[in-house]
Symmetry: C2
Subunit: 409 residues, 2 copies
């Protein structure tokens, strides 16, 4: 990085390459800085509920190491076997259990970061409480490689959960399933995960479900964890709520099998037509049913097969429009539908990205969500830490409003 800084060469940091927004993809000949050889586990401290690992350690390895030490690392973004913890921090990756536990950033105590100058700096540390200095580690979380290169991470962990008990409710309509989610949140139930899968998706993935799926149903998945008696009691209470919401059937499958099945939804839906334009908006949880209904209308208006699922408790939905990847006109239509979805999310008080990040793909959308004042504050920070604009240019923040285009850099 020091050499690139001296020579004015732009770089793109790349972890496991599992991102869905193109954040780790070089666009105009940037140098890729791969983190894949930074794989060392520097320290595991079970007595402090902490570990320090290098950026290229996979998420699955972090979770396994925690479990082997009687601990629990809650974040569970997709593709955990491939994605790197450094990339998870850089994108503030989410996943189903972010409902109770928050996204990856909640679990970061400290970061080792290479700044644009090539200087290596520790941000944050290993303390559970520390208010000396500004919280720069939190600023690097979710910055998608635009402020510095994360090379190691000190993670806060929890003691292992004794039990993690899922429950699935099947509903005759998408709206009924969404209302059940909103009502469960309003009621004050606290599952660890709270997911929605629409009827269209269930028709495709139902056969692989580890149990019996009634035909033509949407699904709500929840997970209750903690001590076994507490998880059993909380799940029973939730079950009663779903019955009131007229769930047609309830099932309590085994956790590991269920979440593996859940993790397979996106690839299965991809195979239907060979490609999909896959989005990741967030809305307030009480607007969930409205959001899903209008996403389906947008799909119909564009004559695109439409599939919706997501981390509904957090209001985070993944609308997917299927395309034939060889038909470029279909992709154009699907992108136009995605633009309507962004408008919808913003109209409902939501976000253009709940967890996938802005990356390259949404760089032109970010200005629709942020005011000129917000953009200016963001760019002031970006320029302070990357004065030459060499760190992942064009990603996350879009174009520098003080320059005609980031290419002018």
């Amino acid at each position: 990085l020091a050499a690139c800084d001296r020579l004015g060469v732009a770089i793109v940091p790349r972890g496991g390459g599992t991102g869905l927004a193109g954040g780790a993809v070089p666009i105009h000949g940037e140098v890729i800085v791969s983190l894949e050889r930074l794989r060392r586990v520097r320290e595991v401290c079970p007595e402090r509920w902490q570990m320090t690992v290098e950026a290229g350690v996979t998420t699955e390895h972090v979770k396994r190491l925690a479990a082997e030490n009687g601990l629990y690392f809650p974040p569970d973004p997709g593709a955990a076997e491939q994605s790197h913890i450094g990339g998870n921090v850089a994108t503030n990756a989410g996943g189903p259990h972010a409902f109770k536990y928050g996204p990856t950033g909640e679990w970061v105590l400290g970061l080792e970061v290479v700044l644009a100058s090539g200087c290596v700096v520790e941000l944050g540390g290993s303390l559970r409480k520390d208010v000396a200095g500004l919280r720069l580690a939190d600023l690097l979380v979710g910055s998608e490689g635009t402020l510095g290169l994360i090379t190691a991470v000190t993670l806060r962990l929890l003691p292992a959960r004794e039990a993690s008990l899922p429950i699935v409710g099947f509903f005759a309509s998408d709206a009924a399933a969404c209302h059940a989610v909103s009502s469960a949140v309003a009621y004050g139930t606290e599952p660890a995960a709270l997911e929605f899968i629409d009827r269209a998706v269930m028709a495709e993935v139902g056969a692989a479900y580890p149990g019996r799926v009634p035909a033509g149903m949407a699904a709500v998945l929840a997970d209750f964890d903690g001590s076994r008696p507490a998880a059993i009691a909380a799940r029973a209470e939730f079950s009663a709520l779903l019955e009131e919401a007229s769930a047609v059937a309830l099932d309590e499958p085994a956790g590991a099998v269920l979440w593996r099945w859940r993790d397979g939804i996106s690839p299965v839906v991809s195979t239907i037509r060979g490609g999909k334009v896959s989005e990741d908006v967030a809305v307030p949880v009480d607007r969930l049913a409205e959001a899903v209904d209008r996403i389906r209308q947008i799909g119909s208006q564009h004559a695109l097969p439409t599939y919706v699922w997501g981390h509904a408790g957090n209001g985070n939905l993944h609308p997917n429009f299927l395309v034939d990847p060889r038909a470029s006109e279909e992709i154009v239509v699907a992108e136009s539908a995605a633009a309507c979805v962004f408008s919808l999310a913003l109209e409902l008080g939501g976000s253009i990205s709940g967890e996938h990040g802005v990356g390259w793909l949404k760089r032109t959308q970010i200005d629709r969500q942020l005011s000129p004042e917000q953009r200016e504050a963001q760019w002031a920070i970006k320029r302070a830490l990357d004065p030459q604009g060499l760190l992942n240019p064009g990603k996350k923040l879009g174009d520098d409003p003080q320059r005609t285009s980031w290419l002018a850099a």
Copy 2:
């Protein structure tokens, strides 16, 4: 702020004025910007577990509003009736229940902030998940008025806890009490709060304890919350752990009375000699016994009555050296003892401030904890958001390394 920016006049934001580090005190004729009239509750959304309140709303009012709506706002810094939520965010205030729930910043979704220019900007928002843009709200958390003026806060809440059950263990020595805390953490028990009070403090405050205190004992307080059966079971397990750690007696007083008593420790200790130099260091939780022992040695070496308590589960200790406030030579000796405590904290891998902030009082200590590279990164951010250095100058970050002294601004 726009006028001050135009005229080059420095300002000091001031909330409830309960801070312990002098962060809200003008030092060289700055204009005080009081937030006390920003007292409006803008929105309470029980169905989203959220509220938006202006900066001058007291912490106690936030907690009460949450409770009235079936919700729970976990942070419980001292002086909740006086301190303002804006100040709590600006200092990232802690408290006993930060052990399980983290400090105030964990509960911030969005902020309304006035920047140095006078421009009002929304940072973050009201969504539980949103990765559009850099996380500037998190950067403002704990910035102690040096990056912007917080005027309103959108808080994330939780459903009300059904039960909150305390337990107190009494130990024959400070070391035994500290070891019990470290062991309980290593064992994986998860209380909501985990506090230590040394023998010297207990001798002073024991009479007001809502129960019977055996003579000459140190105390460990813990709190278990959640559903009533879960809290009862977890407390019983912890109780068994304390017995193994040879607690001399165990007590299960009523929660509200216990925490009111706990909140009174600091004022009671103040009255013994009329004044105290009160510190707030953090150390790794497995160094707790060593830290307390050496703090006591430092007190003896300086011939100062020494009292130690704190949020031990988080490694956050409050060493207090008693002084006669009219004897300026005693204050000098106590400050010299405090400097030794900072050195000790840093030697143990800790922090010069766990929760009170840097403010004005510790501005000369911050450089002992942060490397020159860390300082430079912090100052790059400060200069980006406050180019004239008018926001709470000299606080939090100490002196600008690019200037001889902040006064030169």
